[in-house]
């Protein structure tokens, strides 16, 4: 069809590769669409039913009984989505010098949600989240990414470091 001679197998693959290596035109308007999109605030991801969740705890109440909360993990028996508003995130990391909460909700910026150390290596912080599905992780000592050991793994994450998922429901949901 394309050559009169019978091509060898290697030659076929080489011709395929040559064809595929030719430049492909991509609409230059894509640049503007990307820049327009990133100028907007990051939206929360749609909620999924199967995501495990944990209950929201107001910061002041949690601070009073932080150790007990971490040990008892009352939310682990309750898969009702936490309501939008203030959510507490906790990590036990006795050796850590610093821990930050990073996620879809703060553009993965470690400066926006530094966690405070309580006793016994318990780190905690509270963030306000609107309804949606969020991926998040803990950044320990500024270099080590850790998923939340008490939350489901974010299997749709592609950034090369472990992360977890939390799903937040609306008031009255």
């Amino acid at each position: 069809m394309f050559d009169q001679q019978e091509p060898g197998e290697e030659e076929i693959v080489e011709r395929v590769v040559r064809a595929l290596k030719r430049p492909v035109y991509i609409d230059r308007a894509l640049d503007a669409r990307v820049m327009s999109e990133i100028a907007r605030p990051a939206p929360a991801q749609p909620m999924t039913r199967r995501a495990w969740t944990r209950r929201a705890w107001p910061w002041l109440a949690a601070a009073a009984a932080l150790a007990a909360i971490v040990i008892a993990r009352p939310w682990s028996r309750d898969r009702t989505p936490p309501q939008s508003g203030a959510l507490q995130f906790v990590l036990i990391a006795p050796q850590a010098a610093s821990v930050s909460l990073v996620g879809d909700f703060n553009d993965w910026d470690p400066t926006r949600a530094p966690m405070r150390a309580a006793r016994d290596g318990v780190w905690a912080t509270v963030v306000s989240l609107s309804p949606g599905r969020y991926r998040y992780a803990f950044l320990v000592n500024g270099v080590e990414w850790r998923a939340d050991p008490t939350a489901p793994v974010a299997r749709d994450d592609e950034f090369g470091s472990p992360s977890s998922v939390v799903t937040v429901g609306g008031r009255g949901s």
Partner: protein
């Protein structure tokens, strides 16, 4: 192009973006648009879906820039995001319609016989590529078109090196078979 090739200025641009210079990101988009776009088009087989995946990859990379641990290797990191996006988009697209890039306009507009033949060959290649499994197509493109090493491919795809070698081998065999048949039509 190896994945380890460091683009001059990538690290500087990433640091400028992290410092709040949004416009610096447009330089990265322009730098990687065509290179990554080629992979997306061949992987997904549909230009519209490929551009959507590419746009999504750029946006996701920007929003997660703090997770780019080595700004000098931004390109490799972005590549990983695009590979993942193409998997998602490709799976969705294959349920929606049969995939392959059929460039009818280019075929009709070809001024010379050799140009027309080249366009026709590209069309045949696109159809053959679409017949491969997504895993084999992905491995073949990364190895032979993007010129990545198997270690780099393993890093991007999460697959083992031996599995990737097998996928490339199968892709080559399958392409040879499909295209030989096409040449006898």
């Amino acid at each position: 192009m190896g994945i380890d090739k460091v683009e001059a200025g990538d690290a500087e641009l990433v640091l400028r973006i992290r410092a709040g210079d949004l416009e610096a990101y447009s330089e990265l988009v322009a730098r990687y648009r065509d290179r990554l776009g080629r992979y997306a088009v061949h992987m997904i087989g549909n230009r519209e879906d490929a551009e959507e995946a590419l746009q999504d990859a750029f946006v996701r990379a920007y929003r997660s820039l703090a997770r780019c641990n080595d700004p000098a290797r931004f390109g490799a990191w972005l590549y990983g995001i695009l590979v993942n996006r193409c998997r998602t988009t490709g799976a969705r697209a294959s349920r929606r319609h049969k995939m392959f890039v059929h460039d009818e306009d280019a075929l009709n507009g070809a001024a010379h016989a050799d140009q027309a033949e080249r366009v026709e060959w590209a069309d045949v290649v696109g159809r053959a590529l679409a017949k491969l499994s997504p895993e084999c197509r992905e491995a073949f493109l990364l190895k032979h078109v993007e010129d990545l090493e198997y270690e780099e491919m393993a890093e991007l795809t999460g697959a083992g090196i031996s599995a990737l070698k097998m996928r490339v081998k199968r892709a080559r065999e399958h392409l040879q078979q499909i295209l030989k048949e096409a040449e006898h039509v």
